[in-house]
């Protein structure tokens, strides 16, 4: 099984007629994802390589029965695009847009909770989600993933997600689902949401969790793991050597005072029984050991 998406998930792409949306949307379709439509205001009735384009999400949902949306629009339009998706009947929204103002993200998060409690947002500023062999929404290259499980991956970083997939696939270890939750300060989906879904998924036997400096999501995840997780978790936290007070590329990756350091996160995870590794390769090797011993 997979989490959040599967081979039957019907997906629309908001921004399909734009450069990024078209590039990744078509790649996702080539991978086998059911990309059933696109949305661009004013371009309804046209198509992109045979994929019908609609003016609104509501029209797209009515015509195609889509339940998921891939949001690839510029930062200034992203908040509205996400809310339109939720109002239009979409249940799972993946937003890859980088550079959305933090205040917009905070408002979107709280409006979704209050007005559309059944809707899940993944991202913003994330690589997306891939369930190898079934569904790929976002920018992850399908070539580096391997179908068949038994590992679930959840990560705050894009390239480190690819690195993790690669480390496992090379060793012949497949993945059930790989979720990139993104590096922004207000992620729609957090570590705990994914860990809980992996814990509940019978095909996922172990979980790789990749964190980074900033915030306290890793510490909260550690607390949750300690009390709820029965499956083994291997973790790597990037940014041990990051200087305090500087944003390391991701808006969310900043150490404030003594809070948010990689060391504090690793200590919390270790204390929760997680296998904490010092670099992505070591994490891959540890996971290979664990899977072989299953």
């Amino acid at each position: 099984m997979s989490i959040f998406v599967d081979e039957n998930t019907k997906v629309i792409v908001q921004g399909l007629t734009g450069g990024q949306g078209k590039f990744h949307g078509l790649r996702n379709r080539d991978y086998g994802t059911k990309i059933v439509g696109g949305v661009t205001p004013g371009k309804g009735g046209t198509d992109v390589d045979g994929i019908p384009v609609f003016n609104t999400v509501k029209e797209a949902v009515e015509a195609t029965g889509a339940t998921a949306s891939f949001v690839s629009v510029p930062p200034k339009f992203a908040a509205d695009a996400i809310m339109e998706a939720a109002a239009g009947g979409i249940k799972f929204i993946v937003c890859i847009t980088e550079g959305i103002p933090a205040h917009d993200e905070a408002i979107v998060f709280n409006r979704l909770v209050e007005e559309f409690p059944g809707v899940r947002l993944l991202g913003p500023n994330c690589p997306g989600i891939i369930s190898p062999g079934k569904c790929n929404i976002g920018i992850t290259s399908g070539d580096i993933a391997l179908a068949g499980g038994p590992v679930g991956i959840v990560s705050r970083s894009g390239t480190l997600t690819y690195q993790a997939l690669h480390e496992l696939s090379q060793q012949g270890i497949g993945q059930t689902t790989c979720v990139g939750i993104g590096g922004d300060p207000v992620p729609g989906t957090n570590f705990i949401d994914c860990l809980a879904a992996f814990e509940a998924d019978p095909e996922t036997k172990a979980v790789m969790m990749i964190g980074e400096i900033g915030g306290s999501e890793e510490e909260r995840a550690a607390e949750w793991i300690k009390h709820n997780m029965t499956k083994p978790v291997v973790s790597y936290v990037a940014g041990v050597t990051a200087p305090p007070g500087r944003k390391m590329g991701h808006a969310g990756a900043i150490i404030s005072g003594s809070k948010g350091t990689a060391q504090a996160k690793m200590d919390a995870l270790r204390e929760a029984g997680v296998h904490v590794c010092l670099n992505p390769t070591e994490a891959g090797q540890k996971m290979v050991e664990i899977v072989k011993a299953l």
């Binding site: 990744h24 930062p75 200034k76 550079g99 959305i100 103002p101 933090a102 205040h103 905070a106 408002i107 998060f109 709280n110 409006r111 209050e114 690589p127 920018i139 992850t140 290259s141 070539d143 580096i144 990560s155 705050r156 970083s157 894009g158 390239t159 480190l160 997600t161 690819y162 690195q163 690669h166 590096g183 300060p185 207000v186 990749i210 980074e212 400096i213 915030g215 306290s216 999501e217 909260r220 790597y236 990037a238 940014g239 041990v240 050597t241 990051a242 200087p243 500087r246 390391m248 590329g249 991701h250 808006a251 969310g252 990756a253 005072g257 990689a262 010092l278 670099n279 992505p280 390769t281």
Partner: protein, 380 residues
């Protein structure tokens, strides 16, 4: 983007928040002119983005024109923790009856805004939080609903501010919240927020951090950007559109993706080296980007070796390899380059580089191997 105190105060003024009358001065004569205009006594304040100005002699009271000359002359050019003072803020000195603290920031775990208000201002809020946490009234604010005056009134009472200050402070907090949200701040902090002996409340300091992601709706931020003093390496990188942070080590780093770049720093550190920088070239690692990246790193005299760590996803490694060769034609690089190329089309990429490899252009199969090789060069 962090603002200078004077910029923070100017930003506050736009939202109707009371600050002391004053102006900026870049020379002694300008300082005198401002002082004569606002009236004595004045405070002469160094404009640097670092704490502890007062202790370093960067904040002085002046009662007359001679004192303004003396202090402005001494403070301009002063080095405060590595920050040289180029600009002063001269403002009318305020008599202080009470010092409070007020701020708004994002409470990330709760995805709400967090207001902090305390009757004990003038000291670092971290110290108050540590020693006397009950002295801070925390307010969680739903970003959708915002902060209304009624809530602000209850909040100032909770914080046990002096009765005479409450209504004015409640009104000021609503304005500060507006500045924080409409003004797209990551942090809007007033410390101290003062009550004067004649019962007026106003901001005596301003600490504002702007969310650069919101630049598109704030063309007025351009003036703040112009005054950003920074590391010359960072300035060059910014001009070339690179995401670069200067550090103190000897291993220059180029990686694609923020997470991988951070991870590269960590691995270099683990094998006994230290990074000279953080540099994320993002998704499109073409020849132009690679040449710019190599150029910026090459300009750093501390760099002894360059470690290029690329994991191809959407970015194809063969394109990266071509980019490196093209870049090397354009820029003469003095340090050896160690590359680790993996992911999409890695085999093709390595094959492209193969005929060009020599003792100063080396590939290694894994991130760890490449880090060891680079550090060996750096420590040789």
């Amino acid at each position: 983007m962090d603002l200078f105190e004077y910029q923070g105060k100017q930003y506050f003024s736009r939202f109707g928040i009371a600050v002391s009358p004053g102006d900026v001065a870049d020379t002694v004569e300008e300082a005198v002119a401002v002082a004569e205009r606002v009236g004595y006594p004045v405070v002469v304040k160094a404009q640097v983005k670092v704490g502890g100005r007062g202790k370093a002699g960067g904040v002085k009271l002046a009662d007359n024109i001679d004192e303004v000359r003396l202090h402005a002359g001494n403070i301009l050019g002063l080095d405060i923790k590595g920050h040289v003072v180029h600009r002063l803020w001269i403002e009318r000195s305020s008599d202080i009856a009470k010092e409070y603290y007020a701020s708004f920031t994002l409470d990330r775990p709760n995805k709400m805004h967090l207001g902090m208000l305390s009757a004990q201002g003038g000291v670092e809020i971290e110290v108050v939080a540590e020693e006397n946490p009950d002295a801070i009234a925390f307010l969680s604010i739903d970003p959708v609903r915002g902060l209304d005056l009624g809530t602000a009134r209850r909040w100032v009472a909770d914080a046990e501010l002096d009765e005479v200050a409450r209504e004015q402070t409640a009104e000021l907090l609503v304005k500060l919240y507006d500045c924080y949200t409409t003004g797209d701040c990551d942090l809007a902090e007033i410390n101290p927020l003062i009550l004067t002996p004649d019962n007026k409340v106003h901001a005596l300091d301003a600490k504002v951090t702007l969310d650069e992601n919101a630049s598109f709706r704030h063309p007025e931020w351009e003036e703040f950007r112009a005054t950003e003093t920074e590391d010359p390496r960072e300035k060059m990188a910014k001009e070339k559109g690179l995401n670069y942070i200067g550090l103190d080590g000897t291993v220059g780093i180029i990686a694609n993706g923020a997470g991988l770049a951070m991870s590269t720093l960590d691995v270099v550190n683990q094998v006994g080296g230290s990074a000279a920088n953080f540099l994320d070239i993002g998704g499109g690692a073409n020849a132009d980007v690679m040449a710019s990246a190599l150029e910026v790193i090459n300009s750093d005299p501390k760099v002894k070796v360059i470690f290029v760590n690329i994991f191809g996803g959407i970015t194809r490694v063969d394109e990266v390899a071509k980019g490196v060769l093209e870049a090397l034609k354009r820029v003469t690089i003095s340090s050896p380059i160690v590359l680790r190329l993996d992911g999409t089309n890695a085999v093709e990429g390595r094959a492209i580089l193969a005929p060009h490899l020599n003792e100063k252009l080396i590939t290694e199969p894994t991130m760890l191997d490449a880090a060891r090789r680079a550090v060996a060069f750096a420590n040789a």
